[in-house]
């Protein structure tokens, strides 16, 4: 496992999604030593699970490839995956971080050849596809995963499958005796970039996500559109029926005191983008977007106008009251179009919940003293010392705003370690 060499001039970046990667790379490319700690077995975070970006409809993996290449090439950057920061003590310029390393059961010998995966039989829900498909008990999380190393699922470690994986590896890369361990190292400044998670749609009871197969979330829909995803890029329901008549329910969890107080900012644009997926997939597609306000902020406005102009897309200003299903399992959205008061009961093939962004770290779970607001996002505050939020840990942000914010966070951290350097010089 990667050795962490660090000093008080080192910048610790917590979280290896787009924000954490950006902050880490910008600092490292300015000559600073950076340790990047990521909980997943690979970098890229949620962005690696997106098929396209709005508004350009380009591919997130394109930017990810560049960023991963930057990461591979940069000697200033140490990446630690499957690791979580459990404690940060000290003050700006002199922190000590405690990091818990979960066993990957695969060491750096791994060449990514895939022999272990072929040998193993057990299958589990694939997290990368939000459980919509299965993966082996020994697996490469996704085809662009960096580090390009396999992972052994802890659930097969004590089993025959675990032994098969070990036996299959010609390079002695499978190490079933690996244990969880803890490391401590110093850092001068900390960038907190733990990002977001999709709000648990099952909690939005009126929409029946936990009851109806054909009510899914926007992050699941995103995987569905991806040719690498669980349906090979086909917009289809679990029962195989083509989903041509798709409803998007905005603010599924956002702007709602029952769920998330805040507006998650991205969901309007995400649904407009996903509307393109449907319209591109089927000539006779029909899309309905139920919304309270369409928030296509500033430069994204024309993207909204383009979708609005499509003949087969309907916008309904209404928070859907509830979803029921008919006997064929078709979801029916019920509610009132508030523009002029029209009651509706619309049957769709598929309902996509535009679920919002929830901070990944729960309010009480920060391993460091930090000022948060009621939504659980980190507020910039002098009391945070040398800890700086980057990206969606600070607010519900889209990718470009997250990158922008993370770039600034890198400078904030550099200011601290430069002060340390000047003091030590």
């Amino acid at each position: 496992m990667t050795e962490v060499v660090a000093t008080n001039e080192t910048i610790l970046v917590v979280g290896g999604g787009i924000s954490g990667m950006t902050a880490a790379l910008e600092a490292a490319e300015t000559g600073k030593k950076v340790v990047l700690v990521e909980k997943r077995p690979y970098l890229g975070g949620r962005v690696s699970q997106l098929y396209k970006y709005f508004p350009k409809l380009c591919h997130p993996t394109c930017g990810l490839e560049i960023n991963q290449r930057r990461a591979k090439m940069n000697p200033n950057l140490t990446i630690v995956t499957m690791a979580e920061v459990t404690n940060i003590e000290g003050e700006a310029g002199a922190y000590t971080a405690t990091v818990k390393l979960s066993p990957r059961y695969v060491n750096d010998n791994c060449t990514g050849c895939g022999d272990c995966a072929r040998a193993v039989e057990a299958e589990f829900d694939d997290e990368y596809n939000y459980g919509m498909s299965k993966r082996k008990g020994a697996y490469l999380p996704h085809v662009m995963a960096h580090p390009m190393q396999y992972v052994i699922d802890p659930r097969i470690v004590g089993s025959d499958d675990g032994q098969k994986a070990k036996a299959a590896c010609k390079y002695d890369a499978v190490d079933l005796d690996m244990q969880e361990r803890e490391i401590k190292f110093p850092a001068g400044a900390v960038i907190w970039a733990t990002g977001w998670q999709p709000y648990d749609a099952a909690k939005i009871q009126p929409y029946g996500y936990d009851r109806f197969d054909n009510v899914i979330t926007n992050v699941e829909f995103e995987r569905m559109a991806d040719p690498k995803g669980p349906t090979g890029g086909k917009i289809v329901r679990k029962d195989g029926k083509e989903a041509k008549n798709v409803a998007f329910i905005q603010c599924a969890g956002s702007r709602d005191r029952n769920h998330l107080y805040h507006c998650s900012r991205i969901c309007c644009m995400a649904s407009l983008k996903q509307t393109h997926y449907v319209v591109d997939a089927y000539e006779d597609a029909k899309v309905t977007i139920y919304y309270i306000d369409i928030r296509a902020i500033d430069r994204f406005e024309d993207f909204y106008q383009t979708v609005k102009a499509m003949d087969n897309v309907t916008f309904v200003k209404s928070k859907v009251a509830n979803v029921i299903t008919d006997k064929e399992g078709n979801p029916i959205c019920r509610g009132v179009d508030t523009e002029g008061y029209h009651r509706y009961e619309n049957t769709h093939d598929l309902v996509v919940l535009a679920t919002g962004m929830e901070p990944s770290v729960a309010k009480g779970d920060f391993p460091v003293d930090i000022v948060i607001n009621r939504e659980g996002f980190i507020e910039p505050d002098a009391a945070n010392g040398g800890v700086f939020a980057a990206g969606s840990a600070s607010d519900a942000l889209d990718v470009n705003r997250a990158v922008q914010h993370a770039t600034g966070a890198a400078l904030k951290a550099i200011q601290v370690v430069n002060r340390v350097a000047r003091a030590e010089a």
Binding site: P206, D256, I292, K317, A321, D337
Partner: protein, 208 residues
């Protein structure tokens, strides 16, 4: 127009929203509505509403005082609380509807013959009399609330139901003669009277 109604019109000339805020139960929540319409869609009796709650809130802000207060709509509330639990802004919509209804009643501008308005008044009168509701009297007074002829018709229509209830001892014709009551009836009535006075005084202060 009742005197009180006139006074209120005068006082809140420009802002019906302020009037509602000051005089209607939970009226201070009306301003917080963001017009999502989830209440409208969630109402089990939705079809029966000329104006949905969300629309009523918009009408209040738009100063449509008479249209709101004289509306039949809030009397359609079944107190099912669907709207309350789904409202993303936590507006106590059920209570606001009750509050608007009550306020309209106070001002004397309830639509003629609104059955729920009558029933709700009867219910109140009934419970105040003895401290407990006398279902039989309530039922009968209800049947006759639209006049004797209508009452007979309704009674006949409801006859079978009444019979079923009597047979299962879930209705007691003897209740007509007296029925259940709280023992400290005078104490009970004093409490309610005092509460009414306090509320009147509070509103009068606002209304002054």
């Amino acid at each position: 127009m009742s005197d009180m109604n006139k006074a209120m019109v005068e006082k809140y000339r420009n802002s019906f929203l302020s009037e509602v805020e000051a005089n209607v139960e939970e009226g201070e929540w009306v301003k917080m509505c963001m017009q999502c319409g989830v209440c409208a869609g969630s109402c089990p009796l939705g079809d029966a509403w000329e104006h949905t709650p969300q629309k009523i809130f918009m009408m209040i802000r738009a100063g449509k005082r008479d249209e709101v207060l004289a509306s039949d709509s809030m009397w359609m509330c079944t107190s099912c609380y669907n709207c309350i639990v789904r409202c993303p802004r936590e507006l106590p919509i059920t209570h606001i509807m009750h509050g608007l209804a009550h306020y309209a009643k106070r001002l004397g501008i309830v639509p003629q013959g609104q059955p729920t308005a009558k029933f709700a008044q009867l219910f109140w009168d009934n419970l105040i009399k003895k401290g407990r509701v006398n279902e039989l009297k309530l039922g009968l007074s209800l049947y006759f609330m639209n006049g004797f002829g209508e009452g007979i018709k309704t009674s006949l229509k409801m006859k079978d139901i009444g019979l079923g209830m009597v047979k299962t001892k879930r209705m007691n014709p003897m209740e007509m003669l007296g029925g259940h009551a709280v023992k400290d009836l005078s104490g009970f009535q004093k409490v309610i009277k005092k509460a009414q006075e306090l509320e009147e005084a509070r509103l009068a202060k606002h209304g002054a």
